[in-house]
């Protein structure tokens, strides 16, 4: 057991995956000597060499496009996108190639690519460094999308994602990179595509993933002090959604609030609302409510606290839900 940060847990998970499978390669900008701008790949180039930890030219489409070729050749590229807002030059390769080649080739071309994206705000950064683009990928058939929220998940999920045969967009909650937890590398991990109940409660279900799990838990604690019992689920997988635990919970509580940093319009909250309402129509005491980023570009960092869902906004939605 050691106490590790989320960032370090990812680093350890990557190292383990590279040790376990010589076909695993890391690619990205500044991931070599620098260890990535967040140091997630720290020390890996030194130990695995430049052929397996590849500092690429500054071109995201080039990174993903060559990763596709490497995957065709049987490698398992793990690509680092430096910040959420810089994934778009690679969007064509991701949507038209990474997502579709398995289907196009009727399963003949392996496409085991993990695209690591530090996402979300709250770090006081300039434009394009704080976005939450997960819905773009979740809407894309052929991709899977997951988000870790804590060091233990980070360690296991990155390894599971790398070992998984399908392409996965792996979102890392950048403002939680420095959060710590006890990690037991001998434990048995939960499955990758499974949601998890992280706090039991009886009155309202709050769904969150990535950085917002902590926020949701804080809100649940605060609610408890006010005598409101909030259940919190960490979705962990954003596409495919693991609806079982979600529906179980909402059937019990009859109320649901979805929280994410991404803009509300067509964010994950929309999909969850639609599915929950269809599946639990007669169980719902209130409509599924959404707490998300506003439908504006991510604001300058002096305003990000106003923009980002925080425990107060979650509680406000919980109150609204209870008022129905």
């Amino acid at each position: 057991m050691n106490t590790v940060t989320l960032g370090k847990a990812l680093n350890m998970g990557l190292r383990k995956a590279m040790e376990d499978d010589p076909k695993v390669l890391l690619m990205g900008e500044d991931i070599g000597k620098l260890g990535g701008v967040f140091r997630i790949t720290d020390g890996l180039q030194k130990d695995f060499g430049e052929d397996r930890v590849i500092d690429t030219p500054l071109a995201e489409s080039g990174i993903l496009g060559t990763a596709v070729g490497l995957a065709m050749r049987g490698f398992r590229p793990v690509v680092e996108i430096q910040f959420d807002g810089f994934v778009y030059p690679a969007y064509d390769q991701i949507v038209c190639q990474v997502a579709k080649l398995h289907a196009r080739s009727r399963g003949r071309l392996p496409m085991s690519i993990v695209i690591r994206i530090p996402f979300g705000g709250g770090i006081g950064a300039v434009e394009h460094h704080s976005e939450s683009p997960e819905a773009y990928f979740a809407h894309t058939a052929g991709l899977k999308v997951v988000a870790c929220s804590n060091p233990v998940d980070a360690y296991w999920m990155i390894q599971q994602a790398i070992a998984h045969p399908d392409p996965i967009v792996f979102f890392e909650p950048k403002r939680r990179y420095w959060e710590k937890a006890e990690l037991d590398p001998d434990a048995t991990p939960e499955p990758l595509f499974a949601s998890r109940l992280v706090r039991e409660g009886s009155q309202v279900t709050v769904l969150a993933y990535g950085p917002m799990v902590k926020t949701a838990l804080q809100a649940a604690s605060a609610a408890e002090e006010e005598g409101i019992s909030v259940e919190v689920l960490d979705l962990r997988t954003v596409s495919p959604l693991d609806m079982g635990p979600v529906l179980d919970s909402v059937r019990r509580t009859g109320r649901c609030v979805v929280v994410h940093e991404a803009p509300s319009n067509l964010g994950l909250g929309a999909e969850l609302s639609a599915r929950i309402t269809e599946a639990c129509f007669y169980d719902l005491e209130a409509p599924v409510l959404r707490v998300g980023g506003y439908d504006t570009p991510y604001p300058p960092s002096k305003l990000e606290e106003d923009y980002l869902p925080d425990l107060d906004r979650v509680l406000e939605a919980v109150d609204r839900s209870l008022a129905f």
Binding site: A59, L64, T66, G69, Q97, H102, R104, R106, L109, F193
Partner: protein, 405 residues
């Protein structure tokens, strides 16, 4: 609105110009704006004109090139002619099938046979080819059943061949994307000790895509064993090459630090020699080369296209004199390396092939509807399985009762 640019010349003026230059310079109408630019940087005054590697003149005369020798037996030459003739026949047949409504669309390779067969026959077993959507000739060289390609254009799948087994990637329709795949695959060869090299195909229009230029960069930086094979067929759908570049395309490579070479794309011997050499360089660790195969799209862009809107028949007539198939035929005849019986045999084989294609196309079964859910993922997800099951139940409903409509 004028601005600084020259007034538009009319269509007929353009064509006159093109034809004048055509006479003067068989290698294309491109001048060299770099050389005459008033800002003088280092190395900005190349005096040489674009050089076109040619081993067979349009009239079928064998000529020598100081750097590219080739010595083929009569049998080898005949085999090349057979390739040219049969892929042309496949193409003609597929075009006809599209006209008859059997295919959704067809992208013809007419006029580009030599470029494709020359390149395709330069491939060795360990090499991997990355086509666009027009490389039926290369597919042929890799032993792909033409029906697999026809199936794609018929709409039954996205290409039925096994890209790993045949070492011929699936067709890539998004322009330029496959050039990066080729570089990545080549980087894989570097890493797993593979003995081959990659051959990445793309068109003149594709050279404008960011992806293709990024492919040049990655290949150069990583010394990847890849050869970029650009078929400059003068058009990207309706847009003439002048809309993509100021200078001959093969020169693009020099800006990225690797060799570029222009070859007569209608001369199968020259294409074969140049591609062999470049692939050998790639295989032996010398990194990428760009080959510009200078050719002409003799047909429409696809069967949906109407080239009369944007180019003159006279241009086509001029290029007919350079027909790649006729050129090799003339050489074979002229040099006595093939007789009438040979050509008759090829003709008969073509007829047979065409008949087989026609029959197989018309009989090609439609795919199973529920197959559309397969292979989205390695294993179907629970939510997709639910969609499939709903779909199957819904379909079953139709076979039971009458439809609403």
């Amino acid at each position: 609105m004028g601005g600084r640019r020259a007034e538009e010349t009319t269509l007929s003026e353009v064509s006159e110009l093109a034809e004048q230059e055509f006479e003067a310079n068989p290698f294309g109408p491109h001048h060299d704006p770099v050389g005459s630019d008033p800002i003088k940087g280092a190395e900005q005054n190349p005096t040489d004109q674009p050089e076109l590697v040619q081993l067979l003149t349009p009239e079928g005369e064998r000529v020598e090139h100081p750097d590219y020798a080739i010595d083929l037996s009569a049998e080898e030459l005949q085999a090349l002619y057979r390739d040219l003739a049969l892929v042309r026949r496949i193409d003609v047949e597929a075009t006809a099938l599209q006209r008859q409504g059997e295919l959704g669309i067809w992208a013809s390779l007419l006029g580009q046979e030599a470029a494709q067969i020359g390149a395709g026959r330069a491939l060795q077993p360990d090499d991997m080819a990355f086509p666009t959507y027009r490389e039926h000739g290369v597919a042929w060289c890799r032993g792909i059943d033409p029906m697999s390609i026809i199936g794609l254009f018929r709409g039954v799948d996205s290409g039925a061949w096994d890209p790993i087994e045949t070492k011929f990637n699936l067709y890539t329709i998004v322009i330029g994307a496959q050039t990066l795949h080729a570089v990545g695959y080549a980087m894989g060869m570097q890493r797993d000790g593979g003995q081959g090299a990659c051959l990445a195909f793309f068109g003149d229009g594709a050279t404008s895509q960011g992806d293709v230029n990024e492919a040049f960069i990655f290949a150069a930086v990583f010394d990847a064993p890849v050869v970029f094979f650009c078929q400059n067929n003068q058009y990207a759908i309706s847009e003439p090459i002048e809309k993509q570049t100021r200078i001959p395309l093969y020169r693009r490579a020099s800006g990225f630090g690797f060799p570029g070479i222009r070859v007569d794309g209608n001369d199968v011997l020259a294409v074969l020699a140049v591609t062999r050499r470049a692939m050998e360089a790639a295989r032996s660790g010398q990194g990428p080369t760009l080959i510009e195969a200078y050719t002409y799209r003799m047909g429409a862009h696809t069967t949906s296209d109407d080239p009369s809107r944007y180019r003159l028949a006279s241009e086509m007539e001029a290029w007919k004199l350079k027909d790649p198939n006729e050129r090799l035929k003339a050489y074979l005849v002229r040099s006595g390396q093939a007789d009438a019986a040979f050509f008759e045999a090829i003709e008969a084989e073509s007829d047979e092939l065409a008949a087989r294609i026609r029959k197989a196309t018309v009989e090609m079964p439609d795919p199973e509807p529920a197959s559309m859910f397969d292979n989205t993922y390695a294993e179907i997800t629970p939510e997709l399985a639910e969609q499939r099951d709903t779909f199957l139940a819904y379909q079953a409903g139709f076979s039971d009762e009458a439809s609403h409509a």
